[in-house]
């Protein structure tokens, strides 16, 4: 057996020998089989490393193998190389077990059980906006908890391979920043407020936890910190600018409300004063007519006002309103009073006209003889109608203000308004404020990350 082996090797090593010479070698059939088996196994070792085969590190010592095409094709060494490559690949996966996929905008997390799990940015948004829970978020990034003491929600970040990876955290911050920038129209909305608080909390967490114990070099740390600070500053300044614009609009609305109120009150005062003057005249005349009728007083009054059209209207109204109060005796008294006084006077007053004025035939006729007709629609008219107050215009203006400011006017619901407005109870004020917006329902504690996050000393 040994002889045949040496024979075969000898034969192969001598390249001068031809194939015919190999055939001439006298060996039996068994030896031929052995020869075939051994050449298959030993063949590579013959050409490359007959002495180095005992070496422990085949991969390093066989660098020359790569230069020889014949050897690369051999299965044995190829298998060894593949195994080594797989080991390296596994190590890399362990190091980078969170990968951000730009196309799908999602994070691929290698779980502790070596399972690949995908977390989308939309899932994070859903959790922030709607509290739609997600196991991966709660396991690797943060949780939203309700603090019973301050009665606010809090973002509590979890120290994990996700949050410790500053590049991944910056990817998340970039996504939130882009989302806020793309939804500038809704910058005053509740969701954007939540995102801004979340953004702030992440930055605080990164500053307090990650950057303090970071493995990165100084320049990279400075770059990250300044980048985060810049991003947040830009976002906050935009927001403040929007809020100030909103405050300006509120001021203008206040001014217009003040004008409307002033207008309404002045008109109302005008109506009241006119009504009062009417009432006073009505009362004084009524008193004079019904109680003690003094002819001289009436004549003096007539002389004083020279029987203007207004007075005739007044007296007509009074008489029409109080027709029932005037009994026949008083009418007769007045008539005799006028006839007597007319006889004494210089025919200054047309008695017949006055008499006619009191007669029932002319009670509905406004255009009395020789007297100016009263224009009911003139500005001088003391009877102010409802249309003159322009209440409909005021209502429309108020409705417009209500629509613009998103505050319900609730004109139909009068009782609730009066309850809310004119009660000093705190509860009613709460109801009132809760009617406008439900911001208080989702208030977040902006100091949670500052208070709850761990603090490490710088180790640089």
């Amino acid at each position: 057996m040994l002889n045949t082996k040496s024979l075969i090797r000898r034969k192969k090593i001598t390249p001068v020998q031809s194939d015919k010479e190999f055939e001439e070698i006298n060996i039996d059939e068994n030896e031929k089989i052995i020869k075939n088996l051994e050449t298959e196994v030993i063949k590579p070792s013959i050409f490359t490393m007959p002495k180095k085969q005992e070496s422990e590190n085949i991969y390093v010592e066989n660098d020359d193998i790569f230069r020889q095409d014949n050897i690369i094709k051999e299965g044995r060494i190829g298998n060894i190389f593949d195994a080594e490559f797989k080991k390296e690949e596994q190590n890399e996966l362990k190091k980078e077990d969170i990968i951000y996929d730009e196309q799908s905008s999602s994070y691929i997390i290698i779980d502790y059980d070596n399972e690949k799990k995908t977390l989308k940015n939309e899932d994070i948004l859903n959790y922030i906006f709607n509290h739609k829970e997600n196991e991966l978020i709660k396991k690797y990034i943060f949780t939203i908890n309700y603090n019973m003491i301050n009665k606010q929600f809090e973002f509590n970040f979890i120290v994990s391979k996700f949050t410790e990876n500053i590049e991944i955290m910056i990817k998340l911050l970039n996504f939130i920043n882009d989302y806020i920038n793309n939804n500038e129209k809704d910058i005053m909305s509740e969701n954007i407020d939540k995102l801004m608080i979340f953004f702030y909390q992440i930055i605080i967490f990164i500053f307090k936890n990650i950057l303090q114990v970071s493995k990165y070099d100084k320049l990279k740390l400075a770059k990250y910190s300044s980048y985060l600070s810049y991003k947040y500053s830009t976002m906050v300044l935009k927001k403040i600018s929007n809020i100030e614009n909103n405050n300006l609009i509120i001021n203008n609305t206040f001014q217009s409300l003040f004008d409307i109120k002033k207008d309404l009150l002045s008109k109302f005062n005008q109506v009241c004063s006119l009504q009062n003057s009417n009432l006073q005249r009505h009362m004084s005349l009524n008193k004079n007519i019904t109680t003690s009728v003094e002819p001289s007083l009436i004549l003096n009054r007539s002389a004083k006002y020279k029987l203007s059209s207004e007075d005739f209207v007044d007296s007509k109204n009074l008489l029409s309103d109080n027709k029932e109060n005037l009994n026949s005796d008083s009418k007769e008294k007045i008539m005799t009073m006028f006839t007597e006084s007319a006889a004494k006077s210089d025919d200054k007053y047309n008695i017949n006209n006055i008499m006619n004025f009191f007669s029932e035939d002319n009670s509905d006729n406004n255009s009395d003889n020789n007297y100016q007709e009263v224009d009911m629609s003139s500005e001088e008219n003391i009877l102010v109608t409802e249309e003159k107050l322009n209440l409909n215009d005021i209502k429309e203006e108020l409705q417009q203000i209500s629509n613009n400011s998103n505050i319900p006017l609730e004109i139909s619901n009068k009782d609730t308004i009066s309850e809310h407005l004119y009660s000093n109870n705190l509860e009613s004020n709460k109801i009132k404020s809760s009617n406008i917006k439900s911001k208080s329902d989702y208030s977040y504690n902006t100091n949670s990350a500052l208070l709850n996050s761990k603090f490490y000393e710088l180790n640089l």
Binding site: F207, I240, L409
Partner: protein, 56 residues
């Protein structure tokens, strides 16, 4: 007629007051939010400043 006008004016005045109170609330909330945001901004800038001071 007079009573109707008076009631209507009274009701309108209530609505105006209601709007004014709510607008005032919103104004106060906005101001409070501005203060909070400015405070947050100061915190971030301060942290950034402290970190950079420690680094260099």
């Amino acid at each position: 007629m007079d009573n109707e006008i008076i009631l209507e004016v009274k009701e309108l005045l209530k609505h105006i007051d209601y709007l004014e109170i709510n607008l005032s609330d919103e104004f106060q909330k906005n101001n409070k939010q501005i203060l909070t945001l400015k405070n947050n901004l100061n915190n971030i800038n301060e942290l950034c400043h402290l970190l950079c001071k420690k680094i260099f």
